[in-house]
């Protein structure tokens, strides 16, 4: 037992240290990459004939991307920390908050060490990025024209890091209140490596097959929300229900924290969506506006749906609706106008409400905090809605959608949705199985009853 713990302590520290050996030259990340080289290495097919004008860092664009990175960090911590943390029972408050917080720490290191390279590094067979950028080797302070022509390459890297962080943190809602902390850590690392990093490459990496197919996903409907939500479904199914589910009262222990978390998610999501323009200006502004509008509409829609269906508008409902709206507008945010965003938002509120309230009840799985109901369903709706409402009038770099005269756009959208679902569902099941065999995924009954805070962390959240 004590050995077991020791093992973890050691493994962790060793892992971190060991990686240094693998990295081609400590501190070499600082060597700025000449843009032409970057272009040549990263995306030969798009290399221009004549030497391009050397990309120059724009202070305004960089300010916006850095600000956006900070905002997206705030989505995970304290955003998700509070949103999810407030929704569990008191005895699991710290354990659940810790999930989001430690993912931020774990993936921040993983991404710098090899995650970014696997996702955005030089393409290998349209499936994954190569390890050339391991340890940020060659990821310097000059712009990489493929990913952001006017900001330092590292600015794009850190912005993307925040996405890599929040995605596994969203899954947390599905297995809340019953997962073993050590198993959770291993699961997260494997999931980030084998599901998130490749999927991000498929959709956003130069050479990724879904990107090549023309699938539109501005800020991560497939990569972030379908992947996390559907993986959440897999987790809920695999782990089974919480003790007492359906019999005991499992009311949230602190809705003010949850509402605060939802508000911070909204706040930070401006960075998520508008920052995905990787520049300040018109496109960022448009994404900002539709993000706000869809979110508001979705919160109202969930609230009114609930009011009509169950008789009372709830605060948790309004907060959940807002998050559903944020999810659904994400893939569309760089391609649609404000009026479209209202419809997307209303759809998100209504669909996710019925998913979380009716569907879950019918199908009987215990998705503790509705990771699937909100992110899986909301992300799927958003990816499809992008195919419906996208318009070149908003973003000439995008495409028109079905309602703007281009039904063909639905094909890559649906392919992207299907591919993400399959990867998430199958991949997550395999990872869960492996981790379960090695170390066991779920806490014991006694530990579950006493709560994660005491059983996993020897701590008590409140002395009030």
């Amino acid at each position: 037992m004590r050995n077991h713990r020791m093992l973890f302590g050691l493994t962790g520290v060793l892992l971190l240290l060991a990686v240094f050996a693998l990295i081609p030259g400590l501190g070499s990340a600082q060597e700025t990459v000449p843009p032409s080289t970057a272009g040549a290495a990263g995306a030969p097919s798009e290399a221009p004939q004549a030497p391009p004008p050397p990309p120059k860092v724009d202070t305004g664009d960089t300010a916006w991307v850095l600000t956006s990175s900070a905002l997206v960090l705030a989505m995970t911590a304290p955003g998700l920390v509070l949103f999810y943390g407030g929704m569990v029972r008191r005895k699991n408050a710290l354990g659940t908050m810790m999930h989001s917080f430690i993912i931020l720490c774990l993936i921040s290191v993983q991404w710098v060490l090899y995650g970014y390279s696997m996702a955005f590094g030089p393409d290998k067979g349209h499936i994954v990025g190569g390890l050339e950028w391991v340890g940020l080797h060659g990821v310097g302070l000059d712009p990489n024209t493929d990913y952001g022509a006017t900001v330092p390459h590292q600015a794009f890297m850190i912005f993307q890091l925040m996405f890599a962080v929040i995605t596994p943190a969203l899954i947390v809602g599905a297995f809340a209140e019953r997962i073993k902390f050590s198993a959770f850590l291993v699961f997260t690392l494997l999931w980030a490596t084998f599901i998130y990093d490749p999927l991000a490459h498929w959709v956003w990496g130069v050479g990724g097959w879904l990107r090549n197919l023309g699938a539109l996903d501005f800020a991560g409907g497939t990569v972030v929300h379908i992947s996390s939500g559907v993986s959440g479904l897999a987790c809920a199914l695999y782990l089974g229900k919480r003790l007492g589910y359906g019999r005991e009262v499992m009311a949230p222990h602190n809705i003010p924290l949850t509402l605060t978390g939802a508000s911070l998610l909204w706040f930070g999501w401006f960075g998520f969506n508008a920052g995905s323009a990787v520049a300040s200006g018109a496109l960022a502004t448009s994404a900002f506006v539709v993000t706000n509008t869809a979110t508001a509409a979705a919160a109202l829609a969930w609230m009114f749906a609930e009011w009509g269906y169950r008789g009372k508008p709830t605060v948790l409902g309004a907060a959940s609706g807002a998050v559903a709206g944020l999810v659904a507008i994400t893939p569309a945010s760089g391609f649609v106008g404000p009026m479209s965003s209202i419809i997307i938002g209303i759809g998100a509120g209504v669909f996710c409400y019925f998913a979380a309230v009716v569907l879950k009840g019918k199908l009987g799985y215990d998705d503790s905090l509705d990771a699937f109901g909100v992110h899986g369903i909301g992300g799927t709706w958003g990816a499809i809605a992008t195919g419906l409402f996208a318009s070149k009038a908003i973003n000439p770099g995008g495409n028109d959608g079905l309602f703007f005269g281009n039904p063909a756009q639905m094909i890559p959208q649906l392919v992207a949705v299907a591919a993400s679902w399959i990867l998430a569902l199958v991949g997550t099941f395999i990872i869960l199985k492996v981790v379960d065999i090695i170390m066991g995924l779920r806490v014991t009954e006694d530990e579950e009853r006493v709560g994660l805070d005491l059983s996993q962390h020897n701590e008590n959240g409140y002395v009030l």
């Binding site: 009311a251 169950r310 709830t314 009716v358």
Partner: protein, 112 residues
């Protein structure tokens, strides 16, 4: 000496406390409890999960009085805590065999 325990509606505490003071009772001990009884509780809904909460917040007043004062104390409580609607609560009386004031070691009625 008698120990009187009264379970009352929370918003009646102040009135009851004053009434007891008026008849010369100088101390009491109060705690928050949850009551189950004829008064029905309320419904709560969280993401579609509906819970019937059967326990209703109540205040328990414990007051120890000399035998002489007991009836007046009970009267005072009943008259102030009563609203006439279900859930007004109960009064339970037990005999006390001893009372001690920690500060002085006094015991019996003079400990109160």
């Amino acid at each position: 000496m008698k120990k009187i325990e009264a379970i009352i509606k929370p918003f009646k505490l102040d009135e009851v406390k004053e009434a007891l003071s008026e008849i010369g009772i100088q101390g009491m001990t109060v705690s928050e409890v949850k009551g189950f009884g004829r008064q029905k509780g309320h419904k709560e809904t969280y993401r579609g999960a509906e819970y019937a909460i059967e326990f209703v917040p109540k205040i328990k007043i414990e007051v120890v009085v000399s035998n002489a004062l007991a009836d007046r104390a009970i009267q005072a409580i009943v008259s102030k805590a009563k609203t006439g609607t279900i859930g007004d609560g109960k009064i339970f009386v037990t005999d006390l065999s001893q009372a001690v004031r920690i500060r002085t070691g006094e015991s019996g009625d003079s400990a109160l």
